[in-house]
């Protein structure tokens, strides 16, 4: 005879220390074992797509900042690339280089948050503050250039809002020299820590096939061992000119596609971003940054899907224009939105503590999930 037991339903969030914002996870538990996970989203829905239909094209850029507020420059970048593709604008060389430098700096900043908060989820508080310390230095570089620390409105359709500061190149080099050893320190403190490895290796394994089927992109897909990076496979801007590697998860500590792989791909990507920035700083030409900005942005009738490699994966803008001053429809494909949908699949059979580890490893930003 067996004892009849009931599953316990535990609401994790919307107010919970490690749901990375206002996400609600409905956990069905058998003891501490997860039977089912159902994410409930929409708490941060800000009607971006509806807003966009009432805004002119330049006015949308501040709104794109707020989609994924940890990677604003990348969002600006994606939007600018999309509209330029529809209008057929060729932007000056200098603009392209600055965009790439900023995009990669933003990637480092965003990955630092991802790494730091992941440590925080696992219970290590200190690496989080080391990461934020270095991120602040990047934000200062941004602030020096465009005056804002978080929401930049920097990359415009056809150009940039400001040229870089005369000191920018020197200070960026200085920062990169300072920053390189810091990554190693975080590795020593967190990545190679036995407890951290125990917590993350062999947890939340996402096989490559499932990852592609679920539309995972960016570090989450590469963590599963798929060598796919939009900067290399579908190059936009001038990424085809740089020499960099695409790190993929190799199951060094456990199985390919586990949380540790997803986490460590981000650490390795920081190194590659540094390489790209250094090359770009060497090659950056002189020139004007605002010469290609159209006076009136009025794209022709048509539709375009533009996508860029955001720190979290493929950020896509599906833009339909009816030839007016406002977009007819602007749909955003946020990488976090797609990544979060795999939660239910990943968590089954794990413990509560693993839900946190898995959620942290797919690195979502709720601003982008809900838009």
């Amino acid at each position: 005879m067996s004892i009849k037991t009931e599953h316990m339903v535990l609401n994790m969030g919307p107010q919970h220390p490690s749901t990375h914002g206002v996400l609600r996870l409905e956990l069905e538990l058998n003891g501490e074992l997860i039977v089912n996970v159902k994410p409930h989203i929409g708490y941060l829905h800000r009607c971006f797509e509806k807003h966009a239909e009432a805004m002119t094209y330049p006015q949308i850029i501040p709104y794109t900042d707020r989609i994924d507020y940890l990677a604003s420059i990348s969002n600006n970048f994606g939007y600018a690339v999309t509209v330029e593709k529809l209008m057929g604008i060729q932007v000056p060389e200098r603009v392209e280089y600055i965009r790439v430098i900023f995009g990669e700096l933003q990637r480092i900043a965003s990955h630092l948050v991802a790494i730091g908060t992941y440590g925080l989820d696992i219970g290590a508080f200190t690496p989080f503050l080391y990461c934020f310390r270095d991120r602040e230095k990047i934000l200062s570089l941004f602030e020096m250039t465009c005056g804002a620390r978080l929401l930049y409105n920097y990359i415009w359709v056809g150009g940039l809002s400001h040229d870089i500061h005369p000191e920018f190149v020197r200070l960026t080099r200085e920062f990169l020299n300072y920053f390189r050893p810091q990554v190693e320190e975080v590795n020593q403190l967190l990545s190679y820590n036995k407890i951290f490895i125990e917590r993350t290796a062999n947890i939340g394994i996402l096989p490559a096939e499932t990852a592609i089927n679920f539309g995972m992109t960016g570090p989450n897909l590469r963590g599963s061992g798929v060598k796919f990076d939009l900067r290399r496979n579908d190059p936009y801007s001038i990424y085809d000119r740089f020499d960099f590697d695409i790190p993929v998860g190799d199951g060094r500590m456990g199985t390919v596609g586990d949380c540790w792989d997803r986490y460590f791909v981000r650490v390795l990507e920081i190194e590659q971003s540094i390489r790209i920035i250094e090359q770009a700083l060497d090659q950056i030409p002189e020139g004007d940054v605002s010469s290609a900005i159209p006076k009136r942005i009025k794209p022709p009738v048509g539709s375009v899907y533009g996508r860029v490699e955001n720190p979290r994966g493929e950020l896509g803008y599906f833009l339909i224009s009816d030839g007016g001053l406002n977009p007819f429809r602007l749909k955003v494909r946020g990488p976090s939105f797609v990544s979060l949908s795999v939660m239910g699949e990943l968590c089954k059979g794990h413990l509560i503590a693993d839900v946190i580890a898995i959620l942290g490893s797919i690195d979502i930003v709720l601003g982008e999930v809900d838009r």
Binding site: T126, E143, M144, L151, H165, Q188, L189
Partner: protein, 184 residues
């Protein structure tokens, strides 16, 4: 099997000591944070904080309000009388409008700087002031218009009178024309 058991134990202890070495090193490195209200970070020159409007230069063209993505700027203008001289802006543009209302709801402002670029006289710009919290939300609506309410009323009235006069003149002209045409 047995060796991996001891390897685990060793790794567990060793990586802990490696981590402890790092944190101990940081215990004696100087801190990077500052005591905020007493010490402040110097701000770069391009910093984007509170909006300010230099009304001496404003010509009331409404371009900033149209550029704003969150509609936080409200401008109302009244045409000046031909007899009035409003002066010129610092870059030599002649002013032709009385700005009776120039409100910025700084609580709505998203600090995107889109209003700054189209301004023909560079009179709206972002300053480096970032501490301006208020107890009432209504205090965050900044009124930049220099005219007092009475003055604004007067200008409006002036303009309306001018309009009426013009209409009367027109009517009179039309009537005169009619009169002139009628005999024929």
């Amino acid at each position: 099997m047995m060796s991996s058991y001891f390897k685990n134990t060793w790794e567990g202890l060793y990586t802990v000591f490696v981590g402890m070495k790092i944190t101990l090193k940081h215990l004696f490195t100087p801190s990077v944070t500052i005591q905020y209200p007493n010490v402040k970070v110097p701000l770069p020159e391009r910093v984007r904080n509170r909006l300010y409007v230099n009304m001496d230069d404003c010509i009331g063209c409404d371009q900033c309000a149209r550029a704003c993505p969150v509609s936080c700027i409200e401008i109302e203008t009244v045409k000046s009388l031909p007899t009035e001289n409003l002066g010129t802006t610092s870059n030599g543009k002649k002013k032709a409008l009385w700005v009776t209302k120039f409100d910025i709801d700084i609580a709505k402002c998203c600090y995107c700087q889109l209003c700054v670029f189209p301004c023909p006289t560079e009179c709206i710009y972002m300053t480096d002031v970032y501490e301006f919290s208020e107890f009432r939300r209504s205090d965050l609506v900044y009124k930049f218009a220099t005219l007092t309410e009475a003055e604004a009323e007067e200008k409006k009235l002036n303009f309306e009178n001018l309009q009426k006069e013009k209409e009367l003149q027109k009517a009179a002209q039309a009537a005169a024309q009619n009169n002139a045409q009628q005999p024929n």
